[in-house]
Symmetry: C2
Subunit: 328 residues, 2 copies
């Protein structure tokens, strides 16, 4: 039983879903939808049509799950509730503060239409949320830590590029190894923002720009850099393209907890990811949850869900019997 | 809403559940059941009755979940289906090869009685099964590795103690760091038993025993030690009691996988546990799944389940809204 996948939006995520479908034994790509001119978009899978986003509703009965590959700031708050009217949908909405509102909007649309939606899928939110949930459930007396990196933060890179005199820029978030080592050694420190991550910025300046001012503006920028130890390196456009086009990322979720009469017995749960490509991994997660949405829809479990609402068994192409025999 | 917990069997696991109930905001211990003479058993929680196992059926309406703390070899195959006639039940059945049969037996009993059972709960099987399932789902093109230790293997310790001239013995399973490092560095090696774990045995010999023979018998024992690099150390009974009474354990689940057009993009998922007390951690997991069983029973989802069938949300005392706000 193959699930028929649609991709809404063909950026890094859309391209990643296309690759992930190829690796899956039970998925086929039916169409890619775009807000651009479809005739100008070349995709990698031969024979799969590129369709104008506006025509998506006509594909209602030809697609089992639509994976919405837009951005969280402006695309997904509109797109996910909209397409939930026609399709089972998956998105990677990652604005934590607005998650309850997004969930409510998608839930209302999906329940009205009789579709299944899973939102905020990926690795954080996503697999890291799951790691936090399990760790909290088994060690209620404990403390969570999430570290990101080494990897590019899009938001921080954007902030650098908004500075006058900056032609291009990229920001790497780097976890502080000493902090991770302290937790691994059994401590449960209260860590400041500065103690958890450092920030490394590669900046291509415009010709004649005041480098000292740019560096100062970055390092003192509130919310983004002022609370971290930040390093700024100026490089050429050539170096930028050559050395900083990668999309590697990763991170760590740790929970240090205690059990026993007086909390004298210590335990450490650690979950970590080391990813050569953030979008390719994220979309592999999206596709696994597309499988879950497809099955939940078959069970008439309509409305919005997060990864915490989905049992692991729904993510796998194998049967429950095979899973019990080989994975449990 | 507090769930009323019963403990069947008061060994290391039963004692651990008793501690875990104290840490949980939503659980209370109602009774401990034993096959021993109840009047001779002293438990730690004041005011909680110790009851003969034979009287358990009379507690049918006073207990929401019975956590069965017996052994997998002979206790659980009988006890779990038996008590599923009266209670929602949790067990830690860990004989992988017999899991399908055990599942079927418990499923039949629970469905007939209208109860909910979750079997094979703990960390392996249990949290490690979950880690394997998620990792397989998101990286279908990849390879799994599970390492155990450093920690005591009860089966291997028993095997040592059956040797003539051995008064006492304990065996530590130790993961080979070099193997883990290879996987972490991006390799996906085929590892033999010998390349994955070493075995370290502490043996208290009987007076006048032939130490060379004992060491040889251990190191060449098929299935248990012959396929590993095994070290045997002879110690006194005093040293044994002083240094080898701990129950620390842990382990690692790794999945190295690839995405991309030609599998050129590499990813590594790692889940690890470092536990001061194997039974106290295991029972913390049992209690989290007791919460899930209680809720599933409320939804009339009767029959047997494994951890792969349970969504993370069921394990937490918080509401789905709180989870979306703080954990996703």
């Amino acid at each position: 039983m193959s699930m028929r996948i649609g991709i809404m939006g063909y950026g890094n995520l859309g391209k990643g879903v296309e690759l992930a479908v190829k690796c899956a034994p039970d998925a086929e790509l039916v169409a890619v939808f775009t807000r651009r001119d479809p005739s100008k978009l070349q995709i990698k899978t031969p024979g799969v049509p590129v369709v104008a986003a506006a025509e998506a509703p006509q594909w209602k009965d030809k697609i089992d799950v639509m994976i919405i590959c837009g951005g969280s700031a402006t695309d997904l708050p509109v797109q996910t509730p909209e397409y939930a009217k026609y399709f089972n949908v998956i998105d990677s909405f990652d604005t934590h503060a607005k998650l309850p509102q997004h969930f409510a909007n998608v839930d209302a649309a999906a329940k009205a239409a009789g579709t299944t939606a899973i939102i905020s899928v990926g690795w954080d939110p996503g697999l890291f949320s799951i790691a936090r949930a399990y760790a909290n459930a088994v060690l209620p007396n404990g403390k969570d830590y999430t570290f990101w990196g080494k990897g590019v933060s899009q938001g921080h890179s954007d902030a650098i590029r908004r500075i006058k005199g900056v032609k291009n820029g990229k920001q790497y978030t780097i976890p502080v190894q000493a902090a991770i080592d302290r937790i691994r050694s059994g401590e449960t420190p209260d860590l400041t923002t500065r103690e958890k991550h450092t920030r490394l910025c590669y900046v291509v300046p415009e010709e004649g720009a005041d480098l000292a001012r740019i560096e100062e503006e970055i390092k003192t920028m509130p919310n983004y850099f002022a609370d971290n130890d930040t390093t700024v390196k100026f490089i050429t456009e050539e170096e930028f393209v050559r050395d900083h086009s990668g999309m590697a990322h990763g991170g760590f979720v740790l929970r240090a907890g205690a059990t026993g009469e007086n909390g004298e017995t210590k335990h450490l749960i650690e979950y970590s990811l080391k990813l050569d490509s953030n979008p390719e991994f994220t979309t592999s997660v999206l596709l696994a949850y597309a499988r879950a949405a497809y099955r939940l829809a078959g069970e008439k479990k309509f409305g919005a869900h997060t990864v915490l609402d989905i049992a692991p068994t729904y993510l796998l192409p194998s049967s429950a019997e095979e899973q019990r025999a080989h994975l449990v």
